[in-house]
Symmetry: C3
Subunit: 190 residues, 3 copies
Amino acid sequence: MSLGRNAPTNLTGSKTLARIGILVVSDRASRGVYEDRSGKAISDFLEKVIQSNWIVILKIIPDGAECVASALIELSDREGCDLILTTGGTGPAPRDLTPEGTRMVIGRELMGFGELMRRVSLDHVPTAILSRQLAGIRNQSVIVNLPGRPEAIDVCLNAIFPAIPYCLELIGARPIEVNSNVCNAFRPGA
Amino acid sequence: MSLGRNAPTNLTGSKTLARIGILVVSDRASRGVYEDRSGKAISDFLEKVIQSNWIVILKIIPDGAECVASALIELSDREGCDLILTTGGTGPAPRDLTPEGTRMVIGRELMGFGELMRRVSLDHVPTAILSRQLAGIRNQSVIVNLPGRPEAIDVCLNAIFPAIPYCLELIGARPIEVNSNVCNAFRPGA
Amino acid sequence: MSLGRNAPTNLTGSKTLARIGILVVSDRASRGVYEDRSGKAISDFLEKVIQSNWIVILKIIPDGAECVASALIELSDREGCDLILTTGGTGPAPRDLTPEGTRMVIGRELMGFGELMRRVSLDHVPTAILSRQLAGIRNQSVIVNLPGRPEAIDVCLNAIFPAIPYCLELIGARPIEVNSNVCNAFRPGA
């Protein structure tokens, strides 16, 4: 797992070092039954796309709405994450409760994220409509549910990341700069 | 109205005979004022698409949120339906309350179903955005709101059905097998 | 600001003169810090599209959920507006609370409006997924959140307006007739 670009030991108070939480939600990964590939897929994407300094805070937890909610609160309130990306637990199976946990802690929902992620995923698999991914804002943190499979993660991150830098700016989070060769970040009026 | 393929008299306890509820929501149809064409359109589609054994449980009820909610509870909890397809009552008219009744009984929403059904319907009529169709899961039942007009039902079922077999598998419902010549059902990793 | 076509002084009781509320939600515009261009963009569009008689009721208010909710109640319940178009306050910034205020007063949501507006806006800017616009019905009023920028307003109104006349008819609001050369209004079965 990467610790981000130029990651120092601990700088929650820094105004420029963006803090990105990766929350892996999986019963099996949390018991160490198998190696987590999803968190790695997310950090590989971030490594490729973000040019400014950032640090990763990684958590691996079992499935469950309360479990997801309290991990998100910790990453947002205590760890001061600007962006939190979850992976896993968004399907229709009984233990898939990541969206429920997310909804418990966000103040306002960003409906467009789930809509777009499902739409672009539908170009790959018809079962993309089973994904219940959502996104929202908790104070100065943007929280986005990503799917569990690495290939699906990439499809979703490519679709939504162009809107992330401007979103962080609007909510007063720490800024990030992206590599315009791999991600066409956009700021209206810029 | 078809009773499904190889339908026996009553086998709620069978592990292989899929039970499909069709809930026709219409003030007029429930009073017998006119013949129901929507339920027939749904069962015709199922007949064409499903290859394994299944049975239909049909109910025709008047509009209203409570009315829809209690019929759905009966079809899911008592009749043990694996899949419940409603038709009617999803528009903006005052008596259109099928989505409200559905939301009352589902534990988790499948947002992608409504999004996709509205999107594909928009290719046919610009008023598709007036549809408030949703879908969700109640225990081991998948519940999907379909539109009221037979032509619109077909458009929607063609769009969503490829994801239904895998969804039933994920929630632990009885499996169905579809005819791959008419419906490209998909299971990731299969 | 246009007062609509053939606008009389006050005719809340008229059965044919459609009443259209425009609610400008902006801290700065409500303090008169800058001239409102969004309300003007909306009324210019209506002027171009609506052929029957209509009148505008314009309100400019500061951001905030309660503020939006009470203005919408006034436009719907007291002013008897058939259609209410809001502009501003739909983004992720802390003061953007128009969707929250809207949700407080609508009885039923029309999910397809927000989905379509975000989708067509995505063809112009990738940040369209940050918009949290929604729409819904309060008694005999249709309420639609529009974006704040005039260019984005036009993109959204062009996408949704074909469904507005039929929607007004279905909820029992006063009818409007649109110019078929500029807006392809649709009524199923017509």
